[in-house]
Symmetry: C2
Subunit: 324 residues, 2 copies
């Protein structure tokens, strides 16, 4: 039985991270209205959410600012203009991708920025570049997480090396990221145990970020919580790339810390998320994402299938089966 089997209690170290703008932004190219963002911020505070990820720190050389909404770049002044005076009840985070950001220039000192946390996203084969970014962000005063993407495709031996390297760095939190939504809870347990061998020794926190390809985003998140993971990503109505992420409403329905409050989450979903979906923004579980999840493939083929409004699932399955 897991520690959290006593489901009536709670672990105060758990931190809920709202990733709606960041992972959800991948769905609408970060074109969120200011009112949406401001209301999300106020909702997160009322709901007791601990961190709000407002988007990416993406390179303006690689990504054309005319083609994307401002949350792709998260300029400090844009954040300030929309959020207004910062409420100390919630901290703000932004993600920086290895190889896709100009972190030395674009990430300013924490003292002069509304951001509190830099989340460094990396594949397992670019850990040294990630560590350079971690050190840079740490020097600038931020809390820093490192999100190892596509962990379902990484070999255990490589994960061990990566964890050893990261644990020698000043990073605060190391994330398990199931980018392909390919993992079952038992595999999450196994990976969390592997992570915790290192994280316990070096006093690092663990985090979890899931995708809903197999309808397991929430289940895998609470599995991870039971395995000692303290930082948990969720998004309103599960908004995120492809089948989306662990839903905030599911997660807050599970956590027993009285600081969390489900009611404002439901209000925000009715007032903002459902209209967003009805306006044509597409995310959420569907058969094509299940298929790429089962096959442990990147969801890009399924996203393209969705964009083209294809309905020939059988043919799609034939196509992706033939790819391997």
């Amino acid at each position: 039985m897991k520690e959290l089997s006593s489901l009536l209690g709670y672990r105060k170290e758990i931190k809920v991270v709202d990733a709606t703008l960041r992972d959800g932004g991948l769905v609408n190219d970060f074109h969120f209205e200011d009112d949406f963002v401001k209301s999300l911020y106020m909702t997160n505070i009322r709901a007791g959410v601990d961190y709000m990820e407002v988007g990416y720190k993406a390179s303006k050389e690689i990504f054309d600012p005319k083609k994307f909404g401002k949350w792709k770049f998260c300029n400090d002044e844009d954040i300030r203009k929309v959020i207004g005076d910062k409420n100390p009840a919630i901290k703000l985070a932004a993600m920086a991708d290895v190889g896709r950001c100009d972190y030395k220039h674009d990430i300013k000192d924490r003292k002069s920025s509304p951001l509190d946390v830099i989340r460094v996203a990396t594949y397992i084969n670019t850990i040294p570049a990630a560590i350079d970014m971690i050190e840079d962000a740490k020097k600038k005063g931020y809390e820093v997480t490192c999100n190892i993407m596509a962990i379902s495709n990484a070999q255990e031996g490589d994960i061990k090396v990566a964890l050893e390297m990261l644990c020698q760095s000043p990073v605060d939190v190391i994330y398990i990221v199931d980018s392909f939504g390919a993992l079952f809870p038992e595999q999450i347990q196994r990976i969390a145990h592997l992570y915790s061998e290192y994280c316990t020794k070096y006093n690092k926190e663990m985090g979890i970020h899931t995708h809903n390809n197999q309808q397991l985003a929430f289940a895998n998140s609470i599995e991870a919580i039971g395995d000692g993971v303290n930082w948990v990503d969720a998004t309103y109505a599960g908004m995120g790339r492809g089948p989306g992420n662990c839903s905030m409403e599911n997660l807050l329905g599970f956590l027993r810390n009285p600081k969390y409050n489900l009611f404002p989450v439901i209000q925000f979903i009715e007032n903002y998320m459902i209209p967003l979906k009805e306006s044509g923004t597409m995310w959420g579980y569907d058969l094509q994402y299940l298929m790429t999840g089962i096959l442990n493939q990147h969801p890009r083929t399924a996203i393209e299938f969705t964009k083209q409004k294809r309905k020939d699932y059988i043919e799609f399955y034939r196509e992706i089966m033939a790819q391997d």
Copy 2:
């Protein structure tokens, strides 16, 4: 770590039960076309599904046969007409509800029926009536399961008494039924352990039937498999009351026994389930079902909310919060 952590292996005792017609029938009053049923039968055989539940044995006094499709009643001759010659690769089951069937009259000897399994559905407070039905079905030659509904509302002390009584009966399989979709995997584990104390001693099999209120139907099913449960219910595209059940496509994507085959399942979903949904038949995860699941309430209010095509989730949450 669970036994099935070695996810590359499999347990040959596992039986997959297709409950599409039975739980799905609750959504469309059992008005399935003959072609749908026949094709589902052929698909199940190709997919390696072990049992197909074709509907209920409901009382024609209590339920008007003019108002429901034939799978509410499962007359032997109706089954024979649609299925044709029985293929020994798959067994047929029907459900009989305590207090809502004339089992002594309507359930004929197995020798003269196309059915192989009678599934007795009961609440925890009607176990003696269930046992009478179990004994009747057993005498008539059937495999018999007992499905204890709404287990999330039952007290552990009562479950123990019920299990002891059932284990003294000739029942073959005792089911955990999460009717309200209220349970988390850790609670499934706890209940499965409780069941197995009795089932192991008396040599009974355990089964699991889940609902997807909290997006945990599949997760709870594989949790149960890891806990020693061998009979697992699933439905195509998750079709079932309210938010539906564990999806067949999820389950067969998880099981490693080479007898199971996902491809025909996808074919059936594209050819039959998606058109069924597009024709207006409503089931599947939505916020109103999450709310009743979190509150461990019967989904009837959420089903009514759905039928009325209401979208005022906030008001609905207020209503059901006030009920307790």
